[in-house]
């Protein structure tokens, strides 16, 4: 019976978060209350263990590294020029800057697997130019959150690396299996942005041709000038990985180093600017990582209090057929994603679900991809939406929380559409691994 106590953790957490207590501290307070009930004095060991665990996870170094890279590029004016160049070409395409942001998001997603890191860097770079061109704030928010979350489903992905061994499937199969669903998702994002901006032109204002417009050659010159530095950046991160020089987190460090080099090259580097970038990096990183740490503590207590058993009992009690089971599992994942961050949901659900789904005769790789799409949806879904919390860390105050909540909704729906498509056509997932891998 006492395991049902675990379920009470969510309402308590929600109340704390909604009265406006900082998210990380709300998680800690809930952890403290329920942890004392379950573990008594021993809770302290669990808390310290989580600090040690998060504090010795090298892969998380991608967070400060990418945030720093974003802060440097933002301050060196490189991001500005990049978006101005994109704007030159796309200004008559409805929502052009937002589409450009999605393209950039795909590149960053392909160079990191750590959620939060990609979102912070995209937000730092793309929000100011979109605001400047008077894009709708909800659209800006949705674009950044959804684009930033692509890191989950475009390889490499830390989520896949965690899920693989938990579900007894190959990480390589997951990486390959997610390529098409990931690209499909990104394409739908772009189509949606264009569509909404055609219907409601004020969302992503496109400008009329004017006599001041630069000529074609001038446009090409400006573009090359603006595109070279980001290309150097992208090469330093993505290229160094593809060439086999650096592992993903190391590539993030090369990108960070490169961003300093570019600032020097463009004569925007000075100690003041550098130290500003460092302090901004600290604020954003610390905010993100403290939520991650507190979420880990919360999960430890949730699991220890019997949370996993509750879920198990629930599924047992219903006795569903294969598809009924699958839908319930995905639904629970989605719901859990409303409250918990991805690592917690994965750690709690995959060991329970993967064997059940396999026993029901489904392909486990395919299931894991569906699970990841649901996770990503949960990551965007209010009230406990890490995507939105991280966005708040990098966006100016004029973009309000309601803007963000409104902005993510269409993108959440698109994710559900992709989940449906993947369910109906498993080949989207299964074809690529069978072609690419092996000798």
């Amino acid at each position: 019976m006492s395991e049902y106590l675990a379920l009470l953790m969510f309402p308590v957490l929600l109340v704390l978060i909604f009265i406006g207590f900082p998210v990380a501290f709300s998680l800690m307070a809930t952890t403290l209350i329920f942890g004392l009930v379950t573990f008594g004095d021993n809770l302290i060991f669990l808390l310290i263990d989580k600090i040690e665990e998060v504090g010795s996870n090298f892969v998380l170094a991608a967070v400060p590294l990418f945030v720093f890279m974003g802060s440097m590029l933002e301050r060196s004016g490189i991001a500005d020029r990049l978006f101005e160049a994109i704007h030159l070409w796309t200004k008559r395409l409805p929502g052009g800057l937002a589409v450009g942001t999605i393209l950039m998001a795909i590149l960053f997603a392909a160079s990191t697997g750590v959620i939060g890191a990609a979102e912070a860097v995209i937000g730092l770079l793309a929000i100011p130019p979109m605001l400047k061109h008077r894009y709708n704030k909800a659209l800006i928010s949705g674009t950044i959150c959804a684009g930033g979350s692509l890191g989950t489903i475009i390889p490499p992905s830390v989520v896949a690396v965690v899920i693989g061994p938990l579900a007894n499937v190959s990480i390589g199969d997951l990486f390959m299996g997610m390529v098409f669903p990931g690209l499909l998702l990104a394409t739908l994002y772009a189509i949606y942005i264009i569509a909404i901006c055609v219907i409601r032109p004020e969302y992503g204002p496109s400008s009329e041709p004017s006599p001041d417009d630069p000529g074609l050659w001038e446009k090409i010159r400006l573009t090359v000038y603006a595109l070279v530095p980001p290309l150097v950046m992208i090469f330093s991160v993505l290229g160094s990985m593809i060439m086999g020089w650096a592992a993903p987190t190391e590539a993030a460090a090369l990108g960070a180093l490169c961003s300093v080099g570019l600032a020097v090259f463009y004569r925007r580097f000075n100690m003041r600017m550098f130290s500003d970038a460092l302090m901004a990096t600290l604020r954003i990183t610390s905010m993100i990582m403290l939520i991650l740490l507190a979420g880990n503590m919360f999960t430890g207590v949730f699991a220890g209090t019997g949370g996993m058993m509750v879920v198990n009992n629930l599924i047992d009690a219903l006795g569903l057929g294969p598809w009924g089971l699958l839908f319930l599992v995905l639904f629970l994942t989605l719901i859990a994603g409303f409250f918990l961050e991805w690592a917690s949901v994965t750690l709690i659900f995959i060991p329970i679900f993967a064997p059940l789904v396999a026993a029901a005769g489904f392909d486990v790789v395919w299931f894991c991809i569906l699970f990841m799409i649901m996770l990503q949806t949960g990551y965007l879904t209010p009230p406990m939406a890490p995507a939105i919390f991280y966005l708040r860390g990098v966006s100016p105050p004029e973009i309000t929380l309601p803007d963000m909540y409104r902005g993510v909704i269409p993108f959440i729906l698109l994710q559900l559409v992709v989940a449906g498509v993947v369910m109906a056509f498993p080949q989207i997932v299964l074809w690529l691994p069978s072609k690419v891998l092996g000798f």
Partner: protein, 172 residues
Amino acid sequence: MQKLLSLIERITGNVGVIAAWLVVPLVLATAYEVFSRYLLNAPTVWAFEIGYMMMGSHFLLGAAYTLRQGSHVRVDLIYGSVSAKTRAIIDVAGYLFFILPFMLWLSWGLWDYFETSWVDMETSGHSSWNPVVWPYRLVFLIAIVVLTLQIVGEIIKGVQVLTGKSSTGGAA
């Protein structure tokens, strides 16, 4: 009160600056590892452990500064629309009843954690460099103690709002 508050905020600020600069060794160590491994075919034994230590020290030591700057994110749908006094009540209650005890307990626990590793000269076991772990555990301890101080600072700020000594209150 005010004096204590400014002392706390000075400590938090200084520790924050140190934390922020740790990104530099993180970048350099990691980039050096790539250089040394790819071009010299000589991977280092230390870059991996330096990497996670810099990452961890960075965000843990920076937590207090981030709190001081009001950058720990909140959902302000309600919080943003209530009076400064109500906001102060939410903060003071939350910090005083939950987070301050939490952090004090954690500080005490981390002291023990540090002391054990100091006495046993425990090593990390994460790589062949295998460094002693007490310095990193000392960082945990310092980080949480400084965060505890800043929590006290936030409580002071809240109380100042409630007693009418300050109109702006805690973090925006």
